[in-house]
């Protein structure tokens, strides 16, 4: 029987040697799809090595699901090659657009939350799912601007998209916190609006507080407020696999493992809180 997939980390080249020297510290890794969409060499060797011992989820940054550009079928085909290579538990990307007119801005640009955008993204998610032959998992992004044209809240947009496109959700708890601060909404209301059956994964990360706004940098430890929000997420969506996403200023593997222990403790505490409820 496969071990339970609960707490994981992002697989980062800085940690390859440490992971190899300290096996079994996590039950799964999230891999950045584009980092392994290369012909060969060291990255794919490490990927194959770790895949033998760990479950994996694929996480992309370039699907550009919300773009008005045509879907990049070549990208999807390359993604599928990687899917076939590592047989991930699921494949995720972001609810955003990353560019148009063939240019990739390499950023997760927010969409206006309009009915037009909802129809557009719904249709594209369904086409991607048909192409990949599996459900897509989409992540809420951190955002810094609010479109004047938006007609829906972000949470209503996401919930409607998940329902209409029959896709799943990667709930980035830090991103909810960041966007809630930046756009002055209630982060807990956002969480409560998510369709529980479709929440496939949690992300946790750090950020940079600029006073007037927060930037989602993934280069700091997770702050106490985000841990609290995570506890709320675990209450609402129990047993959802959790990982810490650190992309810059990457600390030693052991340090991230210690941070991950905090997630374990919170999840265990929430489970204990729930136990008496279940017994009643």
């Amino acid at each position: 029987m496969s071990p339970r997939v609960d707490f994981g980390l992002g697989l980062r080249p800085d940690h390859y040697e440490e992971i190899a020297a300290n096996p079994g510290k996590v039950s799964w890794f999230e891999v950045l799809s584009e980092n392994y969409m290369v012909p060969g060499g060291n990255p794919l060797q490490w990927l194959d090595t770790f895949r033998r011992d760990y479950q994996m989820a694929m996480h992309g940054v370039s699907l550009s699901i919300g773009s008005i550009d045509p879907l990049d079928l070549r990208y999807l085909d390359e993604l599928k090659v990687l899917v076939n290579r590592i047989e991930p538990m699921w494949v995720s990307d972001h609810l955003c657009f990353t560019g148009l007119r063939g240019v990739n801005m390499h950023d997760l640009l927010p969409l206006p939350y309009t009915e037009e955008a909802l129809d557009h993204v719904t249709e594209r998610v369904m086409r991607v799912q048909d192409h990949l032959g599996r459900r897509l998992v989409l992540e809420n992004v951190s955002s810094y601007v609010t479109y004047a044209a938006s007609e829906l809240t972000e949470w209503d947009f996401i919930a409607a998209l998940a329902q209409r496109a029959d896709c799943e959700l990667l709930l980035d708890v830090n991103n909810v916190y960041v966007s809630a601060f930046n756009h002055e909404f209630d982060a807990r209301a956002f969480l409560r609006a998510m369709p529980a059956a479709r929440v496939r994964q949690f992300h946790l990360a750090g950020h940079l507080h600029k006073g007037t706004h927060i930037i989602d940098t993934h280069d700091h430890p997770i702050i106490p407020d985000v841990w609290e929000l995570y506890a709320e997420a675990v209450r609402l969506f129990p047993s959802v696999p959790t990982m810490i996403e650190r992309d810059a200023n990457i600390p030693p593997y052991a340090e991230l493992l210690a941070e991950l222990d905090m997630a374990r403790e919170i999840a265990a505490r929430v489970a204990q809180e729930r136990a008496p409820e279940a017994a009643e």
Binding site: G41, L100, V103, N104, T212, H213
Partner: protein, 269 residues
Amino acid sequence: MSLGAPTTNAGSLADLQRAFQDYLLSSNNRFAASVRDTRKADRVTLLDVYRDGYALRLIEVLTNDYPGVMAMAGPADFDYMARAYIAAHPSHHPSVRWFGKDLADFLARTPPFNGSPAVAEMARFEWALGDAFDSADASPIVAQTLIDLPAEAWETLAFTRLPSLRVLSFDFDVPRAWQQRDEQEAGNLEVARADAPTPWVIWRPQLTSNFRSLATDEATMLAVLMEERPFPELCECLIPSAGEEQAPARAAGLLRGWVEEGMIGSFRH
């Protein structure tokens, strides 16, 4: 800067996306009218998170891909160069892995950077190293398989290089300078002009990339081998340098060396 009045219907999804991207790529500020201030921050401050982030992210990519160029240029000049490249070469690939692909050509032909040709050569060298790093995998052939061939096979024997193998010619001694890139403060790495243009080979026999300079006749023969010409033609191309009598022995010696160094991917006859 004129923001224009905030609107309640700022246009279609397509209009908004075009305006957003134009805002990030150029000084067209039309998009600012499509987003709102918050109580804590004005919209320009918030939009600058995206505009600054766009440049900084790609500068970081170039910094990681081109440590030798950074060591030569120093942070300020590197930043100036990177911003010029970013403006001239927006990314067209899903992965940032390929963003810096055209940097060497850009530096070689664009003023003022083309006034420092050693920097363009360093960029070309570093990109080739990166290419070798994640090129397609192949196991090099071993010498014994050639030794076991019947003599007549050598009449038609042709080789393919390892997929990672590439040959570059440098006027400056960039590979040796590259090895010293971490030894001094960024901006102080000096690159000497070579006595003559020198061919260098870069290849990855297993997981680690190798590079070394090539003798002139070696580069000549390797170029012919890379065209997958048969062994007699490899010998022939050495006649001008080695003479008719010595050419086959020199060719066999060079080939043996390449096989032992793991440069040859396959052969056929």
